[in-house]
Subunit: 514 residues, 2 copies
């Protein structure tokens, strides 16, 4: 057995089942080992942003890591933006980067680069294997590190000689750390604060946004009148009919100020205090209202679900939940123009049970509320602000949850970033519908230009935000990568196309010209 096989067998032994990759020469032995070892599904991406975005999606939905396989420094750098998103989402990922053989690194060949330097800002754990004899153990430790709560990017650098040299071990899995319980004292303290009857909001993130935790939070809210909030960009939220509704923090600073006005206590459950996404001249970044108290029920690495249950018990919040989200029938659109609102009405109208909805579009975000009354679903957002995430992410989500329909709500500007994702969607027959909000521009930036106080009357500035001249043809792009696609220009067209897409399996793209 060589090092590559030792690595692969160890990963499989540790429960890693999927490897998203785009390998090169330095990773050849790893690739060869794929056929010698059962239990690892290789998935090719035609660009590394697809690879790391898919690993993020897999981590969010499977709750355990996939491996990546990236080719040296440049392969890693192409995947960094989506690793940044994954880090912000606390997704577990075993990020494997091939390197030159140790004997070769000293020669500064063209592809030599500072892999550790590139990896450090996105990795909570980094290790470069020193020998084929240790790669198995290194892999087991990487899996363990990736699962340290709430989930981490663990980067394992694999020099080519550690893959091709003789090895003899398959590492056994290391114990996975469980989430640290929140102390009774902390829970009593939060209970006392909440019981003062001040205007309270719980800001939830991570495990606290999944159904079991929300059930406890819903009881607390019913008992105390507290609001339940999520960040603007929560990595994963379970919502829709029958679920406990959570209010989403708005995007812009001044909207958040208004939204939180009067709040006297914010209880953080795996979340950070709210701050604005960007800074603007003369607008606040720190958004906790003046005089409002901040209290931590659980840190991100702690057991937020357990803490919410314990808090519910201490508060005697054992009654029924005040208001589950209720399924609402959406009327079919009157024939009329296609708008972001009409799109979301159709999504809410036809979304099947337990779909996974991803959002990477300001125009989708504006009508987020409409899907509150849709069938229950998981809602995934752009956690780190690095656009080009969701089309790739849906691949991993689809592989983690093959029986669930995925709906990507994508701006055209965002979707171009990792447009190569469509090819992998087609190859792996991901059950996904990509809805492209084709407004042919970085529309949000036109707004931002005004908001930052910059003037907006010049052609050169405007040229940096519009995606016309030429216009993108999404039906052609999808066809070029083997994905069936349709263009819609009216609300009724879109409604019919979306309804039909929900009835079929496999990847599809709907260009919504708005």
């Amino acid at each position: 057995m060589n090092g590559a096989e030792s690595l692969l067998r160890s990963l499989v032994a540790c429960g890693v089942e999927v490897c998203f990759g785009n390998p090169g020469t330095s990773e050849m032995h790893f690739v060869a080992a794929l056929d010698a070892v059962d239990g690892m599904r290789p998935v090719l991406g035609l660009f590394e942003g697809v690879v790391t975005g898919a690993a993020d999606g897999y981590g969010r939905m499977a709750g355990k890591p996939a491996a990546t396989l990236l080719h040296l420094g440049p392969g890693l750098t192409n995947g960094l933006a989506n690793l940044h998103n994954a880090r912000r989402a606390s997704s577990p990922i075993v990020n494997i980067v091939g390197d030159h053989a140790a004997s070769h690194s000293r020669y500064e060949a063209p592809l030599t680069s500072d892999i550790q330097g590139f990896a450090r800002p996105v990795s909570q754990w980094i290790h470069a294997s020193a020998s084929a004899l240790t790669v198995g153990a290194d892999a087991a430790r990487a899996v363990q590190a990736s699962m340290e709560a709430p989930g981490q990017v663990a980067t394992l650098i694999l020099p080519a000689d550690t893959a091709w040299s003789q090895a003899d071990t398959v590492a056994a899995p290391l114990p996975l750390p469980s989430r640290a319980p929140v102390s009774g004292a902390t829970i009593a303290n939060i209970a006392a604060l909440v019981q003062r009857g001040v205007k309270t909001a719980f800001l939830l993130r991570g495990d606290a946004l999944q159904e079991r935790a929300l059930h406890a939070a819903g009881k607390i809210a019913a008992k105390t009148g507290a609001r339940l909030l999520s960040d603007t960009f929560a990595p994963r939220l379970q919502r829709g009919a029958g679920r406990v509704p959570v209010e989403r923090l708005p995007y812009f600073a001044e909207q958040v100020v208004e939204f939180l006005a009067g709040t006297e206590l914010i209880v953080l459950v795996g979340a950070q205090p709210p701050v604005s996404f960007f800074a603007y001249p003369d607008k606040p970044s720190w958004l906790t209202p003046e005089g409002c108290r901040l209290a931590v029920l659980s840190h991100a690495h702690e057991d937020g679900t357990g803490a919410l249950k314990a808090l519910a018990d201490v508060l005697g919040a054992t009654g029924s939940i005040a208001g589950h989200s209720v399924r609402k029938h959406m009327e079919p659109p009157a024939s009329g123009s296609l708008t972001p609102e009409s799109i979301m009405r159709s999504v809410a109208r036809h979304l099947p049970e337990h779909a996974i909805v991803t959002e990477e579009s300001g125009m989708a975000m504006a009508y987020y509320g409409l899907t509150e009354s849709a069938a229950p679903h998981d809602f995934l957002t752009l956690s780190g602000g690095a656009i080009g995430s969701m089309m790739a992410l849906s691949i991993g989500a689809g592989i983690a949850c093959p029986d669930r329909k995925i709906v990507n709500l994508l701006g055209d500007g965002s979707a171009m970033y990792t447009v190569q994702s469509l090819w992998t969607q087609a190859r792996e027959q991901i059950d996904v519908v990509n809805v492209i909000y084709a407004n042919r521009g970085y529309k949000i930036l036109n707004n931002e230009l005004k908001r930052v106080g910059a003037s907006q009357d010049g052609a050169r500035a405007a040229s940096m935000f519009d995606l016309q001249d030429p216009s993108l043809d999404w039906v052609a792009l999808a066809a070029g990568m083997g994905v069936e696609a349709v263009r819609t220009v009216s609300a009724t067209d879109f409604d019919a196309a979306f309804a039909s897409a929900m009835q079929r399996r496999g990847p599809m793209l709907i260009e919504a010209l708005i």
Copy 2:
């Protein structure tokens, strides 16, 4: 005047004329300033790999920097692979990365990241502006740093508040450093070594591969019998009919060993000693023949052109050049199958004078010799091994040299990496023909799998190298981004399509199914 305008006016004053960018909220004031300041051409890329690749191409052909404009850490990371290539090509680039306002950075908002950490491995110079009052001077210094020989990536980080706050200066250009002359003693020393009559090869790179330097090198070769060599991947080489021919080092280690066998003296002119691109089990990385002497005529930052001229004088090499490349008429292809060889015959046959040819395909590399007898042209290669360079690079080359035809020779795997380049080619009406060697696979990796000694009989390994299931449709992809395209399946079809492409202006794509 705000900081953004100060920055922009200072860049223009320092001779920067083009800004390749994909800005976001934190760069809004810079974008707004584009309309207030004359003399800067903004060019939008729909992905930052396009932006930095274009800047590399501009730097290689213009011999001075363009600016980039990247959005925070993720925008930078998306551009890192092509900055790696640019660093290896010694291309001058002023790499501008927006950052959060200083007042915002402390809050760890979603897009906050370690920009300096990401930038360091590709940047010879990094500075983060501290105030709007200094951004002009920072820009002038960045331009100067980018022009330190042989050319550098100078990264300037621009917090949003330095753009929007009040400034009052336009910085004057700083003196550009001239290349250091090579001492007379070094030249005399090399002359003495060369005159011993041992089997000598000059390995040339950088300025030494441009026409004036090659003229001197050609005289030296005629006088001494020395061989003239270039690296396998030279950033820019002037060649073709009427030029002094240079032998290209082969790609694989064992080929280089054979190629250099018997060489007793290698004179380095701006080049490093030859090493293999990758390591392989039981194959050498260091490729200087045993017993061969290495001598440095000029380092990369020194005046290689002047050194070659001085050496020619000392050697009395004032006679004529032994063998200029001679224009050869290529026969039109007999009707027959389209092959990498037939493609290159057509390229050589129809290439117009002073075209710019880029290469990012192993199948193109295999027939490199055929264009030696084509019309004189500049030949640009993938200097850093990070694929996804040349389709983007051609944008910058085209903007630097608007009157020259560009021919990109691209593997399909490579071309997918920054496929968004086609859109910018269309918008800017770059006069470029993209030839896609559509073998529907990472063919080079199938070879590499065998070469590294890994077995190759498994379906999983094979799936990581083939781009079928589904096949890419390049005509559709090009149409989706506004580029006219045609598919060719025979040698005669390709020849006709390529000939016709040489007669028209503007971007085009020819898919060559091989």
